[in-house]
């Protein structure tokens, strides 16, 4: 890109360019702050923004063993007794 000198601009325009530049950078910053703030408040940033010890703050226990999942509809492998309920896997009659 051919460079265009700022030297032949009057001070009004130079000030205006500087102000517009500052506005654009601050706009980018503000967008970033909102992302960070939202991530923190919605709780999906704890891995990035919280110390490991304060995960309890969110009522989350550090995962130690990924074994069997107790959720009825979960498809994670686990012990036979804890697997998903077969009846729940079938679609309702109206969709068959």
């Amino acid at each position: 890109m051919e460079e265009i000198s700022l030297a032949n601009l009057d001070t009004n325009k130079l000030e205006a360019i500087a102000q517009i530049y500052v506005d654009l950078i601050e706009d980018s910053c503000l967008g970033f702050y909102f992302e960070v703030h939202r991530a923190v408040k919605c709780g999906y940033s704890y891995l990035e923004f919280a110390e490991a010890g304060s995960m309890e703050h969110f009522g989350i226990q550090p995962a130690e063993d990924k074994g069997a999942c107790r959720l009825p509809l979960c498809s994670l492998p686990g012990e036979p007794g804890n697997g998903p309920d077969r009846q729940l896997q079938r679609s309702p009659p109206e969709f068959q």
Binding site: L9, N12, K13, L24, I25, S28, C29, F32, E48
Partner: protein, 101 residues
């Protein structure tokens, strides 16, 4: 005299901003730092600073205003020269194309 100059500067800025918005160039200019600053690792650097602020204020109590007050000076200072140069160049080019301003 100072007040008069400030008014002239504000008027000039407003006129240029209006033209930027009318032509759609402002949206393009907004996108430029967003993309470039992510590429060059600026966001990553600011994240580290954000962690410190959040640690200090607490997860539950930190506000956007806290982030703005604490991070903005660092954020401005960390903008790479190449991004500054490109952005200023784009604004200058726009002015050159709209000589009536």
């Amino acid at each position: 005299l100072v007040v008069s100059k400030m008014n002239k500067d504000a008027q000039m800025t407003a006129a240029i901003n209006q033209k930027l918005i009318e032509t759609g160039e402002r949206e393009c200019l907004k996108e430029l730092p967003r993309a470039k600053l992510t590429e060059c690792g600026w966001k990553g650097q600011l994240k580290s600073h954000c962690k410190e602020v959040i640690k200090e204020k607490g997860l539950e109590h930190v506000t956007v205003d806290d982030l703005v007050a604490e991070i903005t000076p660092k954020g401005r200072g960390l903008v790479p020269d190449s991004v500054k140069k490109e952005l200023l160049q784009r604004i200058r080019t726009f002015l050159a194309q709209h000589a009536s301003l």
